[in-house]
Symmetry: C2
Subunit: 216 residues, 2 copies
């Protein structure tokens, strides 16, 4: 049963919150920022959200024109949820709010971390590096493949296989998160096999920590 309440405030912020202010809504949008997702993928990404709530939020967001349901492979085949053009305009807001949230206290354990969250964290943490021409990394995160590239002017995270890669890593979102938060954890992650690396470890350090590497 979708929610029907409103702030009944003409202010644009209140109107925005009438659309994306319900519980879980912005986290659903976060999940869809990098790629369209299926219902089961969203459930996996947001394990603390009940399935009925997820269904409610998806219905409401679709009704408001923030996301829409699309069938893959013409007819038959699974459907995915993806952001509409309007929904995509939330990206800078979600990123800004994420950046702000970095200063917030950590949640009570146990806490989840989805692949998309870790990739967004990566994009917030890694900065272009004028000292290095280009690094392309193939990333296998929880079984799905991403291409992370960084050059002197930009950092990109895209779904799918890279055409060419300098290094290839396989890990899980939590390990990636702790790697980004604490460079010193890289060695133990490798030792404990939570991180699998093909290629030069120094290249990975350059990719993740860039010019700040001297801090090590």
């Amino acid at each position: 049963m979708p929610t029907r309440r409103s702030y009944r405030d003409s202010c644009a912020m209140a109107r925005a919150l009438d659309v994306v202010g319900e519980r879980w809504a912005l986290l659903v949008i976060r999940e869809l920022l990098l790629a369209p997702q299926r219902f089961s993928e969203l459930r996996h990404a947001l394990p603390n959200a009940a399935s009925n709530l997820l269904a409610d939020r998806l219905r409401e967001l679709e009704h408001h024109g923030v996301i829409h349901r699309r069938r893959l492979a013409w007819t038959a085949g699974p459907h995915v949820y993806e952001l509409t053009e309007w929904g995509r305009k939330l990206e800078p807001i979600v990123l800004a709010l994420s950046k702000w949230g970095l200063d917030a206290p950590l949640p009570p354990e146990p806490s989840s971390l989805s692949a998309t969250s870790a990739l967004i964290f990566l994009r917030l943490s890694v900065h272009p590096d004028p000292a290095v021409p280009e690094i392309v990394c193939r990333l296998d995160l929880d079984g799905s493949i991403w291409t992370v590239s960084k050059d002197s002017v930009k950092v990109q995270v895209q779904g799918g296989e890279p055409a060419r890669a300098d290094i290839s890593i396989r890990t899980d979102p939590k390990t990636l998160g702790s790697l980004l938060a604490d460079p010193a954890s890289l060695d133990s992650a490798l030792a404990e096999k939570r991180l699998n690396l093909i290629g030069n470890p120094l290249t990975l350090k350059q990719l993740l920590y860039g010019p700040g590497l001297h801090a090590l």
Copy 2:
């Protein structure tokens, strides 16, 4: 009874929402963007929020370090709520979300509009105007005084009396909002005494609508 629930998600966005994601929280923050406010002022600005919820949100936001309570006039005297330094960093996010919300459907009537909301809408709508050197306007909105100034590079909205003003207007938030949304409503607002103007009407038009004035 303050809420104690969490998304239990390590993602920075979820952590941000653990702090400012509860109902009414971001609207309280919106209200505090331009000036500290007393409890009763917040109640007036958010008439659809129950007083116990307002008290809960204020307690939670203070506990999380987004706002803090301060006593005016040393000891005794009323206290006001104001944003902390961390809370102030939400300003660009609130403004961006407001801008996004302009494309959202209008809420069901009756709907409120606080003075702060109208002023934020003004700041979003009015742009610097290279064609005009400077316009300073004294604004009496629901009884509190603001200084709105615009020159070739910036637009400012500040609490308090201006040192000097080109025009002075007195109105209410809803009228100001409709004025900004529809320039054609200016004449009827004047005729119906919902807007009181001292000074040249053309100056007011230049202030509010600027170079877009030729559209009239």
